[in-house]
Symmetry: C2
Amino acid sequence: MDTVTSQAGQVRELIDRHLARLLDEQVGRLDFLDGPDVDLVREFLVAFVLEGGKRLRPAFVYWGYRAAGGGRPEEVLPAACAMELVHAAALLLDDVMDEAGTRRGRPAAHVALAGLHRRSGRRGDAGRFGESAATLLALLALSWADAVLLETGPRLEAALDVLTRLRVEAIGGQYLDLARTPGTRAGDEEARLISLYKSGKYTVERPLHLGHAVAGGCPRTLRLLSAYALPLGEAFQIRDDISGVFGDPAKTGKPAGADLLQGKATYLLAAARRRTGSPILDDVTDQRGVAAARALIVDCGALDAAERRIAALAGEAVAALDRPPGIPPEARQALVELATLCAAGAPE
Amino acid sequence: MDTVTSQAGQVRELIDRHLARLLDEQVGRLDFLDGPDVDLVREFLVAFVLEGGKRLRPAFVYWGYRAAGGGRPEEVLPAACAMELVHAAALLLDDVMDEAGTRRGRPAAHVALAGLHRRSGRRGDAGRFGESAATLLALLALSWADAVLLETGPRLEAALDVLTRLRVEAIGGQYLDLARTPGTRAGDEEARLISLYKSGKYTVERPLHLGHAVAGGCPRTLRLLSAYALPLGEAFQIRDDISGVFGDPAKTGKPAGADLLQGKATYLLAAARRRTGSPILDDVTDQRGVAAARALIVDCGALDAAERRIAALAGEAVAALDRPPGIPPEARQALVELATLCAAGAPE
């Protein structure tokens, strides 16, 4: 275990160092902007990327590469960093779309940018400025992801193909989420689909595929990685659902019972609805409602069922690693570790 | 002249046909969405791209390729189509950020999508839904641009590099525009910078560079193309400024005097401010104000000066085409034609 932990730590350090260097290079290309405008990019995009996040998706990119037989870490680091930049963009945009007030325990970027505008005494709607500026920062992060991916070398085409599919699927998942929320009472199957495209494929499978593409891996390894990724992605999403209902605001950076207040279409809430048919779950507007809904979700057994489902899915994921053609032991161990992490809960 | 016109028509047809095919392929990959969700993508993104626009930027991509010695049109069509998709994304996002009600004489996408939400009787804020859905469609267009560019083949890396720079510059220009508007009374130099990055480089220079990259052109041709593009881009922007003040709403798809009402930082308004110092230009809130400001801009000679500047810039652009190393006569003729089109005004 110590070896793996220290290995995971080393990978994270590799990624962080590379990310810092790449961001510095990209900021250097903004020389057509004034100093204060560049400072804003540093504060709200560069610092946002570097100072937060668990680098879960870049870790999957890295280990997908290693699993597929890749042996030169520096070859996969651009793709791992591109993945993290795509994720930063997704978070910035999600917060605008969800009208989220906080992220990682701080004011969300669009909120902080609106505050800046308000304090500057400029004319115009501060809220609109904040949302537009946060959206532009997200677009910048997406452009930087492409710029960074250019360092991939001969496997650029395969890598860009995967990253593009990942983005299209995440956009589709986000749309499903948007169209079904609030209060459309998604059934199990629909909740599962949203979870699959918004998080499952996005968080685990496609990042692994991206690393696999950079390594030029074989189709059988690709299938092995999917067999690991899809159940694990689902486990990750159910953990996220639980955190959306029972999570500690200090850790999630969101209000207590956020998913209940927003009427989100999650697996957990769909299961609780199926078990109880109670309207208590569908009209949560305050913390009293949150408490009542939480009690109901526990009492009906939906929480226990969700925990059991997570454990079963994580087990399924780990078992898949021993399928043919097999993967190098180091990669296997790291992916087992990451499965535990996902099942135990990795906020955002 | 007839040859050129018919050649321009042929190029447009080539691009349109290729674009339709590529969009069809990309829509086909959305099979994880339900039918009505895919229909929405068809209606608000595919139809938006195919049914509007002059294909000005893809034409520059095409002729940049030909100018650089490229001889196989099918090789540059993916890049030309990617450019058009980036532009579609820019328009969708600009309309959300500017809170524009109309585009190409129809309701802007975010407005139409909000209406759809309202009519469906779903819960939640219809305006927010419209903006989020339009933003997701823009993100989809950007992802498709990358997907389409993948067909470029061996020059993918060079092409993606240019397309990424183009996107970063356009984002920077949009941010400058956002941060300086409204009522910050931009000076000549600032207005010129916004125009350079938001439109000049974006509309003319980078599309030409993109074509040049696909052809694997030489550095001297690249410089020739820039010497043509930069003055022409500025002329294009000043024409756009004039249209933003004097344009016919039926043609521009925007309210009469839109730039005045929004207090935009344009070259034309900066010139008029410099000549008059009149507060009439800075507090336009209704059509009476628009009429007064228009009269002032004409009387002080700013409009005439802007027209003279456009003519001089377009002349400078065309003269640059005869610099060494020169370009093929067909490309030269097409670029002269495009210069006339830009100087005469090409809405959006």
